[in-house]
């Protein structure tokens, strides 16, 4: 079995709201002092793939990213988490291409990697990213590849001839049987919290292969990706001002303070009837 995980590098979503600013010209967040990190759902996807490999023993995992050279860090970290190999499709001067464009690039890269190393049975992407987070890339990629997709998957296990998937829906858990090749989007649950790489594996990660490709290598041209495939653009972006004044419970004793809180809660609840 070959498994491919798509990783996206994003601006650290944990930057506090007070440090967050928009660059009006770029129509995007200012980098400021924020770190660049791997999108959390991509790390959940790596963890899910690693657990699948532990159960399926012969599986090999490849990480793929379309990003700037800084994204090498994400791929190294993935290999430190014991992903077997990685590929970076280099991007420059093409900020915020939308899901349709990214899907086309990732699909072309996947086909190239498959030419050289055989087909990927499963392609894993995150359910959405923590920056623009439209969660459309998985769907676009599945269609580009002509493969079926299941969303919100939390685990993969070797099944009867195929792969058994568990996924979260509004009404509860669904179990599905998938015939490779297929695409899934990964969501979080208590079992796919990303592992912390061991020091030894961090060292080892530098010996693992990191292949670099550019759009020309994939037979794509930048102009085409920018204009032909892109299906949306940012018209406007702003920071909402939605802070409200909070009245904190006051009083000399805990009992008085909790009493104030209780009255306010009771008042609201009683008004609902």
């Amino acid at each position: 079995m070959r498994v491919l995980v798509c990783l996206k590098q994003i601006l650290d979503p944990d930057v506090p709201a007070r440090d967050f600013e928009i660059d009006p010209a770029a129509k995007a967040a200012k980098r400021g002092g924020a770190n660049l990190v791997t999108n959390i759902f991509c790390e959940n996807a790596i963890e899910t793939a690693l657990q699948f490999r532990e159960a399926a023993s012969d599986a090999k995992i490849t990480a793929l990213c379309y990003g700037e050279s800084t994204a090498e860090d994400c791929l190294r970290k993935a290999m430190a988490m014991t992903v077997d190999e990685a590929c970076l499709v280099q991007r420059d001067g093409n900020p915020n291409p939308d899901a349709a464009a990214v899907g086309r690039v990732l699909a072309a890269a996947i086909r190239r990697l498959e030419q050289d190393g055989g087909p990927f049975d499963a392609v894993l992407v995150g359910r959405e990213s923590g920056d623009w987070g439209t969660g459309q890339t998985g769907g676009a990629l599945a269609e580009e590849l002509g493969r079926p997709l299941l969303g919100f998957v939390e685990s993969l296990a070797p099944g009867n001839g195929g792969v058994t998937l568990r996924r979260q829906t509004d009404v509860g858990i669904e179990v599905a049987e998938a015939e490779p090749p297929f695409v899934v989007t990964i969501t979080n649950n208590e079992d796919n919290v990303p592992r912390i790489p061991k020091t030894r594996d961090v060292m080892m990660s530098y010996r693992k292969p990191l292949r670099k490709l550019n759009l020309a290598d994939l037979g794509l041209d930048d102009e085409e990706i920018r204009n032909g495939a892109s299906s949306f653009e940012v018209e406007e972006i702003f920071v909402p001002s939605d802070e409200v004044e909070c009245v904190l419970a006051e009083g000399d004793t805990l009992d008085e303070r909790v009493d104030q809180l209780a009255r306010k809660i009771h008042e609201v609840v009683a008004s609902i009837g």
Binding site: P13, D14, P16, A29, A99, E128, G130, D131, W132, G133, T134, G135, Q136, T137, G139, A140, E143, P148, L149, L150, G151, F152, Q168, D170, V171, G172, I173, E174, V175, A176, E177, A178, F182, T185, T187, N188, N189, E190, D191, S231, F232, V234, I237, E243, V244, E245, C246, V247, L248, L254, R257, L261, A262, K264, I265, H266, V268, V269, S271, I272
Partner: protein, 323 residues
């Protein structure tokens, strides 16, 4: 002429999400001078069909029995074929925010050569293009996207839209025979979590707990508080990831979007991604040991205190007040 389609899952009926999606669809159809078509994926009961024909100009029923339990691959095919049966001339295709709609939206857009967008809180036409408003950067910003290709396939934060108004005359209902392939990924089992009480999305009062609770047991304590005021229980991602409560308790960007009259956040810091799920609450109250926690910038009242001190006493007082 160009029309607007709204896709509804038959098994979900004409629920609040479908009503909101149809409402958004009607407003859009009026703005382009076109019709509103309701596309029903899978068998639906007569009541739901009647409700849809009261608000739409046309209803296209894809009632194939194999769609009763939704198979995503087939739902996608069904949507494609229903759009074709409806004439194919659509500026926009709108869907609700259930799991199935979310996963098929980008694929449908791709098949139709259109644009897709997720979780739109507002939509309108600007010339030939649809503009969709949603949050970005985990709720820290609001962005408006211009969708450049038609049709625009958009799943909506549907409950936030006004339900569609009834029309003077009922829309024509047509059954469409769908030709569906066997799904390449087949759902074989469902473990439906029995929802005690109302769904979180519809709950008037919610008591949520976060990482600061330190473990699963304190959620029992919060349950007593919730019972005292008739509330449902929710949680932050941190509490769900820790396995203290099931994943479907998660409120936030990638959890439930709730809009209760009262939301009580206990030991939750108020990260933007959490606020995104509960920002539509009418009144928010917080219990947190840290006076600088961001949640206090987004609540109307609260208490800076250890929940262990507050919750039992608060529950006792509220039980007494409820009499």
């Amino acid at each position: 002429m160009a029309n607007v389609a709204v896709c509804v899952l038959g098994s979900f009926g004409y629920d609040r999400a479908a009503q909101g999606a149809a409402g958004a669809g009607r407003a859009l159809a009026e703005s382009v001078g076109g019709e509103l078509h309701a596309l029903v994926i899978g068998p639906a009961d007569d009541g739901a069909v009647a409700s849809l024909s009261a608000v739409a100009d046309r209803v296209l029923l894809g009632g194939n029995e194999e769609l009763r339990d939704v198979q995503p691959e087939q739902a996608l095919q069904a949507a494609e074929q229903l759009l074709e049966a409806g004439g194919g001339d659509y500026v926009a295709v709108l869907l609700g925010n259930d799991t199935y709609s979310q996963e098929i939206a980008p694929r449908l857009a791709h098949r139709l050569g259109g644009s897709s967008m997720a979780d739109a809180a507002a939509i309108r036409m600007d010339g030939d293009h649809l503009l969709a408003q949603r949050t970005a950067y985990g709720g820290k910003a609001i962005s408006i996207y211009r969708l450049k290709k038609q049709p625009s396939v958009v799943w909506l934060r549907a409950r936030g839209f006004e339900p569609a108004p009834e029309q003077a005359s009922a829309g024509e209902v047509t059954s469409v025979d769908l030709a569906l392939d066997a799904p390449r990924i087949r759902i074989t089992g469902r473990e439906v979590t029995e929802q005690e009480g109302v769904r979180l999305e519809d709950a008037p009062v919610i008591v949520s707990g976060g990482r600061g609770l330190g473990g699963p047991e304190p959620f029992q304590e919060l349950k007593k508080l919730a019972d005292a005021i008739g509330a449902e229980q929710g949680a932050s991602r941190a509490a769900c990831d820790a396995g203290w409560v099931p994943p479907n308790w998660q409120v936030g960007q990638t959890g439930k979007k709730v809009a209760p009259e009262l939301y009580i956040a206990i030991a939750i810091s108020g990260a933007s991604q959490h606020l995104l799920g509960m920002g539509d609450s009418k009144v928010v109250a917080a219990i947190n040991t840290d006076a600088d926690a961001p949640i206090f910038k987004h609540c109307s009242f609260g208490i800076v205190e250890d929940y262990k001190q507050v919750v039992p006493l608060l529950t006792e007082k509220l039980e007494a007040m409820a009499g």
